[in-house]
């Protein structure tokens, strides 16, 4: 048992080290893509009336004259040793400071979305899968198809029109109490529910045909226990992966939802940065959002290792019935 814990620790340590590599790689990729922006940043900032000398001094001050590799290394050093993502060109505020106040809002929306995705999507998929080819199945799948086809920003706009403008039940935009988050979260989770339900249904149907289900029934396990103890744990594994992808998506999708509801989160910040050609803001926001989704993946990998007996066997050394 102790050996197992050690191996688990080793597994997590391995994943963490790998994570650092991925984060550095992500930062390099994002910096490099941003480096190729064809605009002259100094000209964008100073306008067309600036003199050559002004432009040159601004470029010098921003370090734009250095070669690519020097700029990259400086950026990486700042990001990973000082947690410094640079300063906004327009507002002259450190990007990190601004992001720190915004991250909780984006993350709150992302997590609530995932929560509702799983709370609604998994039961829907279960209902469809257990009643295959009956009306419940048809109903769930039709609903899922419609949910997955509706653009979330359009749904959001319609919600605002109905619940904020016509009925005055909910605030249309901005932040405040929990009331302000109801519509954004709803608009964002609808398509995820559909994806989850479809995934749950198909993986449940995969499991239904497995030999171990037949053998469980043959040895007289009650139908309720067949579903809860034999089918569900196995069928849930791909759904858990899907949830991680969903969280990544909803964090990335915050750009759109936050724009519709004017929520001052990371996504909104990113979009303002794009519109103002405020590139440190763009770069910093994208790096932070990517880091988040990478960390979620890491967390998921570790949860996965706990849930999936096959991976568990690899690190706990209990393969082929050998207990170390």
């Amino acid at each position: 048992m102790k050996a197992g814990t050690n191996r688990m620790g080793k597994y997590i340590l391995n994943r963490l080290l790998w994570m650092i590599f991925v984060l550095v790689g992500t930062a390099i990729v994002i910096f490099t893509i941003m480096y190729f922006i064809p605009k002259d940043i100094a000209k964008v900032l100073l306008g067309s009336s600036a003199t050559q000398a002004e432009l040159a001094s601004l470029r010098e001050r921003l370090g734009l004259n250095d070669p690519y590799i020097v700029q990259l290394l400086r950026y990486l050093k700042n990001v990973f040793t000082k947690f410094d993502l640079g300063k906004s060109y327009i507002y002259n505020v450190p990007v990190m400071q601004e992001l720190l106040s915004r991250i909780p809002r984006t993350f709150f929306i992302g997590c609530s979305v995932i929560l509702f995705d799983s709370l609604l999507g998994i039961p829907l998929g279960l209902m469809a899968g257990l009643n295959q080819n009956k009306w419940q199945d048809a109903l769930c799948m039709v609903l899922a198809l419609i949910f997955v086809s509706v653009p979330n920003f359009w749904l959001a706009l319609q919600l605002v029109d109905i619940f904020a403008v016509k009925l005055h039940w909910l605030p249309a935009f901005g932040i405040g109490g929990i009331k302000y988050y109801i519509m954004p979260v709803f608009a964002a989770f609808v398509s995820g529910v559909a994806t989850n339900a479809r995934q749950m249904r198909s993986s449940l149907l995969d499991v239904t045909r497995a030999d171990y289900i037949t053998s469980a029934r043959a040895k007289g396990v009650s139908e309720r226990n067949v579903v809860l103890k034999h089918m569900l744990p196995n069928a849930l594994i791909p759904v858990v992966t899907g949830l991680g992808v969903g969280l990544g998506k909803s964090i990335a999708g915050s750009v759109i939802i936050e724009t519709v509801f004017t929520i001052p989160g990371v996504g909104m910040y990113l979009l303002t940065g794009i519109n103002n050609a405020d590139y440190p803001v763009v770069q910093g926001s994208i790096i932070i959002l990517s880091f988040f989704s990478a960390l979620v993946m890491l967390l998921l990998d570790i949860v996965y290792a706990q849930v999936d007996p096959r991976i568990k066997a690899q690190y706990s050394g209990r393969m082929h019935g050998v207990t170390k």
């Binding site: 922006i37 086809s149 509706v150 653009p151 990335a252 724009t259 979009l271 993946m297």
Partner: protein, 305 residues
């Protein structure tokens, strides 16, 4: 002598039959898929509506009374009527005509975006599968980084750098789908990698290019095709979302997302400006998803439950 000739003839005949058989079988693989697809009612409905929308969006504008960017100031913000089927927008442009034009953008962007990603993924995946070994190890690590950046963010980032425009938007939309395609291909290549036909191709000195595209590709492509078909709807949604936030296709081009973005501030007073473009997007994506589901079941009947 005579006998030999006869033999030769017989041999030839057998050869002929053999070729015919092969041809029949080759043909039937695609035919079986298409036949299975045609048996699925929902897929056919989806396909029918998509073709209809596409044709109407190509031909329709020629029969319309109004130009796509024709502004009639006297007709601003009119509700749907016999004259303007879907009403007019704040500049007095006919929404129905704009939706027709916009259909081209959405459908072509969705399909070409998916195909572009597919092409990049297939080329990279095959090269990686062909070389394998240490290269594969390094390449997979690079893919880990590539897929660590969420697709939507990558699309936002790339369209910021490249700027707006049809081709740039297509590139931005497709890049995010590449890692998954390569992974799917890799899985399949690993499982067919040691099969005899590949060894045979290597022994007869087929060029790497020939091995990759003639021998490997047909054996590994089906899960990727399924994946790509299923992703077209998502790409259309993403294209609309990009245009909505001001990247991607720009106004006054009648892209559906851009139309929604134009209309969002007037939704309260003129709901039709928002309703119709949104319904158009949802309808197209729904039909494409129906077709995609049908094609998945047809290509891989094991998945059909």
């Amino acid at each position: 002598m005579k006998e030999k000739k006869h033999n030769h003839k017989k041999h030839n005949h057998e050869n002929h039959i053999h070729e015919e058989q092969i041809q029949v079988r080759k043909k039937s693989m695609t035919m079986i898929t298409l036949k299975r697809l045609s048996e699925s009612k929902t897929a056919m409905i989806g396909l029918g509506i998509i073709i209809l929308i596409f044709l109407v969006s190509l031909i329709g504008p020629f029969f319309c009374k109004y130009g796509v960017n024709e502004m009639i100031m006297a007709d601003r913000c009119l509700p749907p009527s016999a004259k303007h089927w879907f009403g007019t927008d704040t500049y007095g442009r006919d929404i129905f005509v704009r939706l027709l034009y916009g259909g081209r953008y959405s459908l072509i962007l969705g399909i070409s975006g998916s195909l572009f990603g597919l092409a990049i993924g297939v080329v990279l995946g095959l090269i990686n599968g062909y070389i394998g070994g240490a290269f594969d190890n390094i390449f997979m690590r690079i893919l880990d980084i590539w897929s660590a950046i969420p697709g939507t963010l990558l699309a936002v980032l790339i369209s910021t750098v490249l700027g707006p425009g049809f081709f740039n938007t297509m590139v931005a939309l497709s890049i995010g789908s590449v890692p998954l395609i390569i992974r799917l291909l890799r899985g399949r290549i690993l499982s067919v990698g040691h099969e005899e036909f590949l060894e045979a191709a290597t022994t007869i000195n087929a060029s790497p290019f020939r091995i990759m595209f003639k021998h490997m590709l047909p054996n590994v492509i089906s899960p990727v095709i399924v994946n790509t078909t299923m992703s077209v709807g998502g790409v259309i949604l993403e294209a609309a979302a990009l245009s909505y936030i001001g990247l991607g296709i720009q106004p006054p081009n009648p892209e559906w997302g851009a139309m929604l973005s134009d209309a969002k501030n007037y939704a309260t007073y003129y709901p039709w400006m928002l309703l119709f473009p949104g319904c158009a997007i949802a309808l197209v994506v729904l039909c494409i998803n129906l077709l995609g589901d049908g094609l998945r079941d047809a290509i891989d009947p094991k998945l059909k439950k």
